[in-house]
């Protein structure tokens, strides 16, 4: 094994994850190559220096400050959006949800709006039909009474009576 291949496998060799066969070949090479041997020794010493660094612990009160920060950020986030705030309060009051996802709430609101619009359209259609029917009846009565009062005028009133019933059927 040459120096170049040694350097390619040096990290695995140092961590002991190299196969037994390759490890033996590297050891053989190190016996005859002072440069690679020194490189590995220095890298191991470097690694040892880094590993010998003290481990710091999180400062006292870290968790309480974190809780305050999370609570503050959540309140800012919620208060920024009045729809979300309303939905959150609604969910807390009526559903008992602590954390709220806006999607189902928006979907529910949209469904209610569509349902309301549909009901209004049906009611409006029925009212229009009833109004048309009343108007036709009034016209019909007026023509009949006119024809009765003026028998020599023409027979359009009779024809109109039939026409009115046709229109009613169409509607």
């Amino acid at each position: 094994m040459n120096c170049r291949r040694i350097r390619k496998n040096i990290i695995d060799y140092m961590s002991g994850t190299l196969s037994k066969e390759k490890t033996e070949r590297i050891k053989e090479h190190l016996l005859s190559c002072a440069e690679c041997s020194q490189l590995i020794a220095e890298l191991e010493a470097t690694s040892h220096l880094v590993r010998s660094l003290d481990r710091a612990k999180a400062p006292a009160g870290f968790e309480s400050r974190l809780q305050t920060r999370i609570a503050f950020q959540q309140s800012v986030k919620t208060n920024r959006n009045p729809i979300r705030r309303f939905a959150r309060d609604f969910a807390r009051a009526f559903i008992g949800m602590r954390r709220l996802s806006l999607r189902p709430v928006i979907a529910g609101i949209l469904f209610c709006i569509m349902l309301g619009v549909s009901i209004l359209m049906i009611i409006n259609n029925n009212v229009a039909q009833a109004t048309d029917q009343a108007f036709i009846s009034v016209c019909q009565e007026q023509h009949i009474s006119f024809a009765a009062a003026n028998p020599l005028a023409d027979d359009s009133a009779v024809l109109l009576k039939d026409r009115a019933s046709d229109l009613a059927n169409e509607l």
């Binding site: 990290i11 470097t46 999180a58 974190l66």
Partner: protein, 193 residues
């Protein structure tokens, strides 16, 4: 991979804040230590460590069950540190010309003065040596620094580091080698043998 951590995370998804508190209790020291070694400043380290958990709390719902909580938290920490490093680099670029122009009337001295007071015979105590190692770490590029800290200080495996920094295992190994090679040059006076 399902383990205690993923169970903790899934418990949190069911609105159990106690599980999140347990995650914080378990990882706060490791995350703080990692960030401290990355940014070399205790105040910034605490601020960033808290930001890690704030972000984790906010995105806990989108956490994938098969992921590892540890690597997930360290990934957030790594990204925050790199952002911080970039921001401070930009600030440094903006401030340095002003400093140089303020000093231009004085003797023309290089900003980075080499340490000529080093005496090989002097025995460095532990604190001084640790400060030197930290200084050397801070001179590494952020990609190399994060990998060497995760491997040598946090004791992560290659696989965990690859997941944390989102790169192949081969890249992790080459970064570890490059980081050690650069540290070797920077710490040459303190390496015995």
């Amino acid at each position: 991979m399902l383990n205690a951590d993923t169970v903790l995370a899934s418990t949190h998804q069911n609105d159990d804040c106690e599980a999140f508190d347990e995650i914080v209790a378990r990882y706060k020291d490791g995350i703080f230590n990692y960030i401290w070694r990355m940014v070399s400043n205790r105040d910034d380290a605490e601020d960033l460590a808290q930001e890690v958990f704030v972000r984790a709390f906010a995105s806990m719902k989108s956490f994938r069950r098969e992921s590892n909580v540890r690597t997930w938290l360290y990934r957030i920490a790594t990204n925050l540190c790199i952002d911080k490093y970039r921001r401070s680099s930009i600030e440094k670029q903006l401030i340095t010309p002003l400093m140089q122009s303020a000093d231009c009337n004085e003797d023309a001295k290089p900003l980075d003065v080499p340490d000529t007071t080093y005496d090989p015979e002097r025995t460095y105590d532990r604190t001084e040596l640790q400060a030197e190692v930290q200084r050397a770490l801070s001179k590494l590029p952020d990609k190399l620094r994060s990998v060497i800290i995760l491997y040598d200080i946090e004791g992560m495996s290659y696989e965990e580091i690859a997941e944390t920094v989102s790169c192949p295992i081969g890249t992790v190994k080459s970064r570890i080698f490059n980081a050690r090679a650069q540290l070797r040059k920077l710490l040459k006076p303190y390496i015995e043998g």
